[in-house]
Amino acid sequence: MAVAAARDLPPTFHPNPSPLPSSMEPRLRQLRRVPLLDFVARIADLHADQASPVRKLVAEMIGEVGSKHMAYLPNVMPCLLHLLNDDTPAVARQAIKTGTTLFAKVLRQLVIQGLFSSGGIDDSLKLSWEALLKLKSAVSHMAFQPMSNEGARLLAIKFVEKTVLLYTPDPDTPPDPPNEVTEDMGFNVAWLRGGHPLLNVGDLAMEASQNLGLLLEQLKPPKVKSLSTSMIIVFVTSLSAIAQRRPSFYGRILPVLLSLDPASSIIKVQVPGAFHALKSAFAACLKCTHSSAEPWRARLLEAQNIINQADSIEHSSNRVESLPLETTSTDNSNKRNLIDDIDNVPEDGDRSNKRIRQSHHDQERTENVKNNVELTSADTPSSPSNSASTGNSEAVYQLVSMFAALAAQGDRAAGSLQILSSSIAADLLAEVVMVNMQHLPVSHPEVDQQQSPSAGQPSGAPSSSLLSACFPLLESLLKRINQNDREVDEAPQTIDSAVVPSAAGETAAIPAIPGPTSRNLPMEENSNSSSIPSDMETIEAKEPTADAARLSIEIQESSEASHASTELQGTQEHGGSFISSLPADNSSAGLSLAQSSETRSPSSSMVEASQTQFSYSSTLTSQHVLPKLVVTNIDLSDEAKDLLQKEAFLRILDCDKQDASGGSIARLPLLAHLGVEFPLELDPWELLQKHVLSDYVNNEGHELTLCILNRLYREAEQDHDFLSSRTATSVYESFLLTVAENLRDMFPASDKSLGKLLCEIPYLPEGVLKLLEGLCSPGSNEKQDKDLQSGDRVTQGLSAVWNLIMLRPSNRDRCLEIALQSSIHHLDEVRMKAIRLVANKLFPMASISKRIEDFANEKLNSVLEVVPADESAASEMSTPEAPKDGGSENLSSSVADSQTLMSLYFALCTKKHSLLRHVFAIYGSLPQAAKQAVHRQVPILIRTIGSSPSLLGIISDPPADSRDLLMQVLQTLTDGAMPSQDLISSVKNLYSKTKDIEVLFAVLAHLPKDEVLPVFPSIVNLPLDKFQVALSRILQGSPQNGPSLDPSEILIAIHVIDPEKEGIPLKKVIDACAACFEQRTIFTQQVLAKALNQLVEQIPLPLLFMRTVMQAIGAFPALVDFVMDIMSRLVSKQIWKYPKLWVGFLKCAILTKPQSYGVLLQLPAPQLENALNKNPVLKAPLVEHANQPNVRSTLPRSTLVVLGLAEDQQQPAPQAQSSQNQAAETSSSAADTTTEVTQESSAVS
C-alpha cells in the first residue's frame, strides 16, 4: 500500500481513493508533503536497497518521475543505468522497460523543443538525452549478446525495435511537423528533415539501419543456432513488426525471415513455436498494403505454404557440392556488408540491392558455399541439406525459369539445355518437371509446346529479361551461358507485379487473381499490369470463372467457412489493388459465393442462388465461356430467400434426374455436398431422400446414397466440433434408415438393393441393424404379416446378414447375433431358414463357429430351465381324472418350445457329429416335452448323419439314461437300411455291456443264425409285444441273406428252450408258440410239418411237443395224416415212457379219432389197456374198428385180448401179473401226468 501511495505522490497528489486504516493516514499525508526533489534523492538512495522488489519499484518510479518531470531525469538516470545490470532479472527487466519509455519520451521532447522552442534546447534535456544515449548503447549491447537473463534480453530486443522505429520515418503519418504543439501530435522523425539543432535525420537513419542489421544478424547462422526458441520468437516478431511499420525495410528483413523457413532447416531442431511465430509474422506481413510490400507477396505465400507442408518435407540429398548454382538465393542479401546497406536510402533499397548483389556475385557465392560447409559440419544431424538455404522450391523455380530462358533461344541453346539438365540431380530435375506440370493448360494442350518449347514462348529475349529480373542471381549465370547481355533494370517494377499473380494462382487460395497460368505470362510480359490490354479480358473470362467456381466450392467445403472467407476477402482487397483495371468481374462470383455459404450477405441471395447453380455447372464443363454476372443488390425477405434456395435446390435435383446419363463422379458428390451445406430449415435430407428413392434403380440411387452417407460420415468424423459431428451422425443414421426402410418396402423381397447398400456404406448404425433384425426375426405383433407369410423377407434379411458377416468383419458379431436370434424363432419357417444359414454357411467359418456352438449349446441347455419339468404332468395324463385336454395342449406347446430351442443344436450336430453326445448326455434329465421334441427331430438328424464314428462311439458307450433315445437312434439307423458291420459290432458291444436284448432288435435281422440262437431264449422271455416285434425282425431278415431264422427254425428254437434251465417261465414259451401260430401265413402247414418232423426226433422230446401237435391239427386239420405218422413214430419211441407227453398223446388220439385207431392199435397191449382204462370212451369204437376182418387179422392176440375179442388162454397169471405190474406202473405215471396236466392248465389259465 505504501508503495502505491508513494508512486502516486510526486506529480499529481491524487487523494488516495481506497479507505485506509486511520493510523496510516497521518504518515501518508506526511509522505505526500515531501518535496519532489527530496523524494527523488530518496529514490536514488533506495536504488541499492537489499530487497529486490524495492529496487524494482525504484526502477518503475524513475520512469514515472522522469516522464512527468523530465527536469529530474539527470538526477535519477545514473540509478537507472545501474539497475540495468541488476542481478535480479525482474529489476533489470523493469529498468529496461523504464528506459524504453523514457527514451521515447525524451526523444519526442527533444524533437519538439528543437523544432518549436525559440529558446533552443534546455540543458537538463540535453543531459537527459546524453544519459539516455548511454542507456541505449547499454541496452543494445544486452540485446546482441548472449546473456543469462533471457527475460531482460527479450526486452532489450524490444528496445532496439523501438529505437529502429523511432529513428526512421513513419510512412503512415505526415512527414511534416504540425504547426503547433499539441498533446496528441504524435511523432515522426521525418519532421527533422527541415533541420534540428541536435539531431541529424541521416545519422539517425544510419544508426537505425545499423541496429536493424544487428537484429538481422542474430537470425542468421551461426548466431541463430544458439538462440532459444523464445529469443527466436521475439526476434521474428520484432523484425516483422518493423517490416510492417517501415515497409521500406521489407527488402532487408524478409529475406532473412524467409530464409528461416523449415525447408532451410536452420531452426529445425528448435521447438515448433518458432515456426509458428514465423508463420504469424508472414501472415502479418502479407496484410501490409504498402507498395514496398507488394513484391514480397509471392514469396511470402510460398513460404507460408512451405511452412504448412513442413512436416512432410524431407531433404533427400545434399546438393551443395553437386550444384553450387542452387545456393544462390535471396538469402545472399543477408551477407552484404553493413556498409553497403547504410548507403541505401530505404525506399530504393530493393532495387539497389540487386545491383550490389550482381556486382558482388562471385564473392557471395564462395562465401555462401563456405557457409554451407560450416553448417553441414555443425552439430545438426537432421539437416543434411541446408544448401538450398531458402528451400528447394526456390531453386526449383529458378531452374524452371532457366529452362524457359534457354528454351526460348531455340536450337542455339540446345547444347546448354542438355548440359544443364544432365548436371542437375535426378530428383531435383523431377521436381522441376512437377512444378512445370502445374502450368500446363487444363484442356488445350498446345501441340507446339511439346514439340518445341520455343514455339510456346514466342519472344525469347523479353522472357529471359523477365526471368533475370525475378531471379537476379540466375540472371548473371544466364549471362555466362548465352553471352547475351540484357537490359535488366528497365523492367523490374513491371515484372514484379506480373509475377505475383502467377505465383499466387498456384497457391490456389486466391480466386480473385486472374491469369493464373504461366501461359499468360509471356504475353503480359511487356505490358504493365496496370494497363492490361483489352483483349486480355477474354482470356481471363475463361480462366478465372472456372477457378473461382472451383475455389468457392473448396471454400464452402472448408469447415471453417468464416475463417476462409475472411482470408478470401483479405486477398481480394489485395488483388483489387493492382488489378484494378479489370471490369467488375467474375472473381466477385467467387467472393459472393463464399459469403453465401455463411448466408451473411442479405442483399444478394438471388444472385447467390443463381450463382450456386452457375458455379456447379461450370465445374462440370469447365471450358465453357460463361456470361458475366452482374451483382446487384436486391432486398429479399427471409421467406423469399428460403424459397429461392429451396427452389434452386429442387431445380438441381430435377436437372440431376434428367441428366442421369453421365458425369456421376461430379454430380453425386455435389448433391451430397449440397445436403451438408444447404442452410436448412428446409430439410434437404428429405428432398434428397425423395430424390434418391424416386428412381432408385435407374438413377444411381445406390451411388448417390453412398455418396451422401460418405459425406456425412466424413462430416461426423472430422470432429471439429463435437456437437455438429453428433448431428451429422444422427442425420447419417436417420437418412440411412429411411432409405433402407423404403428399399425394403418398395422392392420385392428378391431385390438385392438393400443388401448391397448395407455392405457398402461407411458403417452400420444400430437402427439399420434393428431393421435387419426385424426382417430376420419378424415379431408376432408387426404389421408385415403379408410378407411374413411368404417368408421371403426373412430370406432377404438373412442373406443381407450373411453378406455383412462375410464383408464387414467389424459388424460380424452383431450380425451373427441377428442370425442366431432368428435361428431360435418361434415360427418354424423362419427358424428353418435361419438355421440353414447358420449351420450350412456360417458354422463352417472357423472364426465364428465357436460362438455359434456356444449359443446353440446354451439354448439346448436352457430347455432344462425353460420348459416346465413335467414328470408330474406326464403322470397326470395317465390318470383318467386329470384335465387331459389342457394337459396335452400344454405339453404340445412345450414340445414346440423345446423344439425351437433345440433345432439349431441338432442342425449343428449334422455338421459336427461330436456334438451329438451332449444330446444323449442331457437326454435323461430333459422334461417330457423336450424328450418328445428330441424324438421328433432325431430321425431326421440320424438319417442325415448316418452311422458316423461319433455316433457309433455313443452307441458303444452311451451316457446313462439315454436308452429311449438310443433305441430310437438304432431303429432309425436300421430302418430300411442295411446296417454296417461297424454299427452291428457297436450294437453287439452295447449288448455285451448291458445285456439289454432290445438293443439287438435293430440289427436282429442282420445277425447270422448262430448269433441269434444263443439270444433267442432272452427274446422269448420278453413281453409278448416285444417278442412279436423281434419275431417279425427275425423273419424279415436282410435282403441279402434272407431271414436269419426261417419259421420252422423259430418254432424249433422255441421248443428247445428248457424253461427250468434258462429261468424262463413256461408260460412265456407257450405264448411265443401261440404268437407263431397266429401268423398262419408265415407258419403254414408245411412249416409246421417240417418243424414237427424235426421236433419228433429231438431227444428228449420237447415238453410242449404234443401241445404243439394238437395246435397244429387244430389249425390245419389236413395235417391229420401227417400227425398219424408222427404219432406212430412216437409209439415206436415208447411215448408212454414220458408221462407228460403220454397224456398229451392220448388226448391227441381222442382228438384225431377215428384216424388215430390205427395208431392206438399199434400200442403194445399193456399200454393199450392203460389207455383204454384212462379213456373208456375209446373202447367201444376201437373194438368195433378192430373187429373188422381185415383189421382183426393184423392184430396180435394180446391186443385182441385187451379188446375182449379173444380169450386169454395161456398163462393168464403171468400175463395178468405182468399186465397188472404194467397197469400199476401206468396208473402211477398217469397220476403224475394228471398232476402235470393240472399244473399246465393252471399255468395256461
Binding site: A90, E150, V271, A277, D719, S724, T727
Partner: protein, 200 residues
C-alpha cells in the same frame, strides 16, 4: 501486498466460443486458486443446433443462463442428450456470460494466455500484435490442441492446470524456463505445445 516476492500470475483460458474448453479450464484453474479468466475468439458464440450447419448463435455477453433457457425451450431432450445443457449449467457457476477475447482490453494484462486450438492461438497472436504496445509487458501465449468435446475438454483442462501451476510455482521468471518447461511437458504428456510471446 507490498513486499511479497512475486505477485500472482494472471491466466486467460481461450477457446472459440468460451463455452466448453476454456470454461472447463477456467472452472478447474479457478478451483485450484489461480487467478484466471476465460474468453472466446469467435465472432459469435456458436453452439450446435438441431441439424448440421444450423448452429445456435448468440452474441458474446449473452448470459449462460439465458442461453440455457433458450435451448431448453427449443429442444430439451436434444440438448440434454448432447451435453449442452449440463455444460451451460456448469458455466453459470463459473461466471455470468461468455466474453470475447478481442474485446477484453479493459480486463487488464495477462501473464499467460492459454489457447486450445491453433486457429484461436493465431487469432490471439494476431490480436495482441495489433494492440498498441506501450507497457512492454511480456505475455506468454501457449497453445495446446484439444478436441472440442466434453471428454477431451476435461483432459485438456487438467493439463492446462498442470502447466499453469508449474509456471506459477516456478522460482524464476517464465522467460528463463519456458523452453525447458515446454519440452519437459511435451515429453511427459505426449502433447504438442506451441508458444509465442506478445507485449502489452
Amino acid at each position: 501486498m507490498g513486499m511479497e516476492a512475486r505477485r500472482k500470475m494472471r491466466f486467460a483460458m481461450v477457446c472459440s466460443s468460451n463455452m466448453n474448453r476454456s470454461m472447463e479450464a477456467h472452472s478447474l484453474l479457478g478451483r485450484a486458486g489461480l487467478d484466471v479468466a476465460s474468453y472466446g475468439t469467435g465472432t459469435h458464440v456458436k453452439l450446435p443446433g438441431p441439424s448440421l450447419h444450423e448452429p445456435n448463435v448468440y452474441d458474446f455477453g449473452t448470459p449462460y443462463n439465458v442461453i440455457y433457457d433458450d435451448l431448453r425451450r427449443k429442444d430439451p431432450d436434444l440438448y440434454k442428450r448432447n451435453g449442452l445443457l449440463p455444460m451451460l449449467k456448469r458455466n453459470t457457476s463459473v461466471k455470468l456470460a461468455p466474453q470475447r477475447w478481442q474485446d477484453n482490453a479493459g480486463d487488464g494484462l495477462f501473464d499467460v494466455i492459454f489457447s486450445f486450438e491453433e486457429r484461436v492461438f493465431d487469432l490471439i497472436v494476431d490480436d495482441m500484435h495489433n494492440r498498441e504496445q506501450r507497457m512492454l509487458k511480456n505475455a506468454l501465449i501457449i497453445n495446446m490442441d484439444v478436441k472440442d468435446n466434453h471428454e477431451e475438454a476435461g483432459v485438456g483442462a487438467k493439463l492446462a492446470l498442470d502447466l499453469c501451476q508449474k509456471l506459477e510455482g516456478a522460482d524464476e521468471d517464465w522467460e528463463e524456463i519456458i523452453d525447458d518447461l515446454i519440452i519437459t511437458f511435451e515429453k511427459q504428456h505426449k502433447r504438442k505445445l506451441t508458444y509465442n510471446m506478445a507485449f502489452y
